[in-house]
């Protein structure tokens, strides 16, 4: 198994470029929240998209999930639908 691991190779991501992306996205978020004259719902949607985008950059490149095996990725991915169910059920409890 060790030998097999050593032969699988990946190109190292450009971490400084990802840092720049994160910086630009953070500035965009703050500008969007305070400066952009759009409706509240659109603003909410855009802000959430930006936040998920940033989180994905961190998870894929800094935590190297992009280069991991699916068996390991699943450990991190499985709680996400459960988390979505938890929040949805809690909201439905409130709505109905």
């Amino acid at each position: 198994m060790t030998t097999a691991h050593a032969t699988e190779t990946h190109k190292r991501p450009n971490y400084v470029m990802i840092w720049l992306y994160l910086f630009v996205l953070t500035v965009a978020e703050v500008a969007l929240a305070f400066e952009l004259p759009v409706s509240r719902n659109i603003k909410l949607l855009l802000l959430l998209i930006l936040a998920v985008w940033k989180a994905l950059l961190v998870a894929l490149f800094f935590m190297h999930l992009k280069f991991e095996r699916w068996r390991l990725r699943l450990i991190f991915i499985v709680p996400l639908p459960l988390a979505a169910i938890l929040v949805t059920v809690a909201i439905m409890e409130k709505v109905f």
């Binding site: 190292r12 971490y15 802000l47 935590m63 991991e68 068996r71 450990i75 499985v78 709680p79």
Partner: protein
């Protein structure tokens, strides 16, 4: 070797992997812990969403109570610490155990593991410090987990503009804000303490090598996760 041309096995160092997920046990343990932490923060964020959208009144407008520019800078600080963490990881993969080393023909020195991990620790400690200053100022101005303190500056402002400051739900706002950011701050503090421990017991004595840098990889995963959570919290708590 440059980043662009360097080809290497990113996350599979040449030490024995456990069967199953195919990684060594402490890394698997960290991933399982992070998965459980996802659920922990989901419970907090889910409660916040339910409280906010089910509350009998409007939440305070973004920036009315909280200092968004300061926190945006703090967010950037945490992002910088994530980059320095991953640079520390890359440094030890390349066998750079040193602090700084001159590069012929270049003005800037090349940073090694000791340098980048120290930068990460400083950025993390600075993040927590800014958060503590923010708490002190908020409480000083009258924003507490129970809402606006009577007779405080914020209570006066809120009385003048109750909608902007979300007076009717100030208690919910205060409790959820301090709970979520407090637990996150606790995670950051634990990360800084762990890195400091590793720095003095493993990094300075040069116990890590390109063949075995498990501690750096595992603490790195934790640190990036803390950054990831803050990215979500910053948007949800400060900007929406």
């Amino acid at each position: 070797m440059t980043h662009g041309t360097q080809v290497l096995d990113q996350m599979r160092p040449p030490y024995p992997a456990e069967p199953g997920a195919g990684v060594y046990s402490s890394k698997l343990g960290m991933w399982v812990f992070l998965a459980s932490d996802v659920m922990f923060f989901t419970a907090l964020i889910g409660s916040y969403i339910v409280l906010r959208f089910g509350a009998p009144g409007e939440w305070a407008k973004p920036g009315a109570v909280l200092n968004v520019p300061l926190t945006a800078v703090n967010t950037f600080l945490l992002i910088c610490s994530s980059v320095s963490m991953v640079k520390a990881y890359a440094a030890i993969q390349d066998g750079k155990k040193y602090f700084l080393r001159p590069v012929p023909g270049k003005l800037l020195r090349d940073g090694g593991l000791k340098f980048w991990l120290l930068v990460t620790m400083i950025c993390g400690a600075a993040f927590v410090s800014v958060q503590v200053v923010e708490y002190i100022k908020l409480v000083g101005h009258g924003f507490t987990p129970a809402g606006f303190r009577e007779g405080s500056l914020l209570a006066e402002h809120a009385a003048a503009d109750p909608i902007k400051y979300g007076v009717t739900v100030a208690g919910l706002y205060g409790s959820s804000f301090f709970t979520m950011t407090g637990f996150h701050g606790f995670h950051v503090t634990c990360g800084v303490i762990s890195m400091t421990y590793l720095y003095f017991t493993k990094v300075l004595p040069e116990k890590y090598s390109p063949q075995d840098y498990r501690g750096i990889e595992v603490i790195g995963l934790y640190w990036h996760f803390v950054d990831l959570v803050w990215i979500i919290l910053f948007t949800i708590v400060y900007l929406i």
